[in-house]
């Protein structure tokens, strides 16, 4: 396939990581007063935005007494300590919750992207009765807030016997109409000639989809996968409702349940926050480009 096709298909992924170094307004001096002011404003805002996380980190390395006495010192009077982390990690469930979060988010992402891609392809390429109104119905469902469905959905899970099970946690999260919309728009832009060539060679619809369309769609599939994964990883309300068994909980829900128990042990609470934040932050540090692109692309609904 030609390079022109590739660039055309890459286009919908906005690359916000490619801010031009020379984005100086034409005619503007490199070290003009405006640029210095802009730089100062950026530094100030970045500090403001980093400070809460930084401060949580600092507190998590203090003793409980130092943390409870307040103050803005970096290292408490009793010195630097990893006590809080040791306490959290020794009481057990954090590993299980992190593991639960990891694998359920991965499964949710895999199922969501797979079924959305198949449906989006049908909406984009295949003729069938009711194509248009079915698609409209899926798009219209974007307006339905999932929070308004928790009561009947929970009732449904009760009748399916899926309360307090992984399936009850995972399945209701796999329907994401915006993803179908984004992928359909992407498939619409893929030149149909590429598929026709394969069809003439006798490949069936499914073959064409897997061997021609999917390989072309890697950038967009990566982008939406990142978005779905972050959403699933951080989802609170549904996992909070559907899971009561401590060993089945995801990280956000598990941490919430022990919060009251540690209510006044500030360095432990902060150590928990740091531990829970760590996985995504580390991934972000390594894959900033991809994540930023993925979120920007998906956030707009591919517009």
């Amino acid at each position: 396939m030609s390079t022109t096709t590739m660039t055309k298909i890459d286009a919908p992924v906005a690359d916000v990581t490619q801010v031009r170094r020379t984005n100086r307004m034409p005619g503007e001096k490199p070290f003009g007063l405006l640029r210095i002011l802009a730089f100062a404003a950026l530094v100030l805002m970045a500090l403001l935005w980093l400070l809460p996380v930084f401060w949580a980190l600092v507190t998590s390395f203090k003793t409980e007494t130092d943390a409870a006495s307040g103050g803005l010192d970096l290292i408490g009077p009793s010195g630097f300590t990893t006590q809080a982390f040791e306490a959290i990690l020794s009481q057990g469930n954090v590993y299980i919750w992190a593991l639960n979060s990891l694998w359920t988010s991965a499964v949710i992402t895999a199922i969501t992207v797979a079924i959305s891609a198949l449906a989006a392809y049908a909406f984009s390429r295949l003729q069938f009765k009711g194509n248009r109104w079915l698609f409209l119905m899926v798009i219209a469902s974007i307006i339905v807030p999932s929070q308004a469905l928790i009561i009947p959905l929970y009732y449904q899970m009760l009748t399916f016997n899926m309360v307090d099970t992984y399936w009850g946690l995972i399945l209701p999260q796999v329907v994401m109409a915006p993803i179908v919309f984004i992928l359909k728009k992407f498939f619409d832009a893929v030149p149909v000639e590429l598929e026709d060539a394969a069809r003439v060679d006798g490949a069936g619809r499914l073959r064409v989809f897997f061997s021609v369309v999917l390989p072309l769609s890697r950038p967009i599939l990566g982008a939406v996968s990142i978005f779905v994964f972050i959403q699933a990883w951080n989802n609170f309300l549904w996992p909070f409702l559907i899971i009561n068994d401590t060993t089945l909980m995801t990280l956000p829900v598990g941490l919430q349940t022990v919060l009251s128990a540690y209510g006044v042990q500030y360095s432990q609470v902060m150590a928990q926050a740091v531990l829970a934040a760590l996985p995504l932050v580390i991934v972000f540090l390594f894959y900033q480009r991809q994540i930023v692109k993925g979120v920007a692309t998906t956030g707009f609904g591919g517009q």
């Binding site: 490619q18 801010v19 020379t22 307004m25 034409p26 005619g27 802009a38 950026l42 805002m45 970045a46 935005w49 996380v53 401060w55 943390a67 103050g71 079924i115 198949l118 449906a119 049908a122 909406f123 984009s124 390429r125 295949l126 003729q127 069938f128 009765k129 194509n131 248009r132 079915l134 469902s141 339905v144 807030p145 308004a148 928790i150 009561i151 009947p152 959905l153 009732y155 449904q156 399945l171 329907v175 109409a177 619409d188 026709d196 499914l206 951080n234 309300l237 409702l241 990280l251 956000p252 500030y266 609470v269 902060m270 829970a276 930023v292 979120v295 920007a296 692309t297 956030g299 707009f300």
Partner: protein
């Protein structure tokens, strides 16, 4: 647009295929009809997994919710008899429900303007191409990656009345300390502050992406005509961001109206009159009060609120587009 959708799968010219209407009344030769039937089957094979999940987890709850809202169903399984519109009339005269809606709308007002404005300023500053791109994106966007649990814990700590950073800062500039999350009406503002810090990075990215799409040529042309940086900002950049701002505004308002996670967790599950959002009232009616029927009715009132806001914004946006 829609024609493209229907035509795509046609291999070569095919007069029998009318765009969008595969069920055309004209009789087709048998071979073609067979091919078409096979095409229908293939289409449904692709659609089935998503549609099954869609019907089970969106359509069915949506329909069943209406039914539940007309009964006195309880979470414990008792009740379930038809009581007509009683739940709705009760909800409409329920002061707590109206207060929750009021809180939700107030929170939306408090967060939407800063979340759009600050995001815009951040994006404009970062887009100047100043060194440190990696760091700016990290600082502004990273909070968005944190779970609601994590940001709630951090901000409860910051808002701690005795030892929290917020009061340390207040006393440093000579102001009286505030019991942020323990004072009526201040609690929702505190939640709004935490929310702005948490989610502004998302809007920032959307603006940054939009800024990249403005052709540099326009700036070069303006510079040739002698327009300075401010002039360029106000006559090129901001007007071009108009449509994007409309989209961000809609997304932001709809997101703010769905407030629950951080409000619930920052108040540690104890709701106060002045901070309880409508989603939390649904949760409390259903899972604390066990009144599934009543909670379903409130869910529908909430749903109507969301739809009304969505429609109102669509109309405003469309009118503005026609004006320009």
């Amino acid at each position: 647009m829609t024609d493209v959708m229907a035509d795509r799968s046609a291999v070569g010219p095919d007069p029998e295929v009318t765009p969008g209407a595969a069920s055309g009344p004209r009789p087709a030769p048998p071979t073609q009809r067979q091919a078409r039937r096979r095409g229908q089957l293939a289409a449904w094979a692709f659609l089935a997994p998503f549609m099954v999940a869609f019907v089970l987890f969106v359509i069915w709850p949506l329909v069943h919710g209406v039914f539940l809202s007309l009964t006195d169903q309880s979470l414990t399984g008792s009740g379930g008899s038809f009581i007509g519109l009683q739940n709705y009339s009760e909800a409409l005269s329920d002061a707590v429900m109206w207060r929750s809606i009021g809180n939700t709308v107030w929170f939306t007002v408090l967060t939407t303007v800063p979340l759009v404005l600050i995001a815009l300023i951040m994006a404009l500053l970062v887009n100047t191409g100043l060194p440190g791109q990696w760091l700016w994106r990290l600082s502004f966007f990273m909070p968005f990656l944190l779970a609601s649990t994590v940001i709630s814990q951090i901000w409860v700590w910051i808002f701690n009345p005795e030892i929290g950073a917020a009061n340390e800062i207040l006393s440093a500039v000579g102001l009286e300390p505030i019991a942020w999350l323990q004072t009526a009406n201040v609690d929702l503002i505190s939640i709004a502050i935490a929310t702005i810090w948490w989610t502004v990075g998302f809007n920032f990215l959307l603006y940054l992406a939009a800024l990249q799409n403005i052709p540099t040529l326009q700036y070069e042309a303006a510079a040739v005509d002698g327009a300075g940086p401010w002039r360029q900002l106000f006559s090129i950049t901001l007007p071009q961001l108009g449509p994007v701002t409309g989209v961000i505004l809609i997304l932001q308002m709809l997101a703010s109206l769905k407030l629950f996670d951080q409000a619930y967790q920052m108040m540690n599950g104890n709701s106060s009159e002045s901070s309880r959002p409508i989603v939390q009232y649904i949760f409390e009616a259903g899972f604390v009060g066990y009144r599934f029927g009543y909670a379903s009715a409130i869910s529908y009132i909430f749903f109507v609120l969301i739809v009304l806001v969505g429609i109102a914004q669509m109309i405003v946006l469309r009118r503005r587009k026609e004006d320009s």
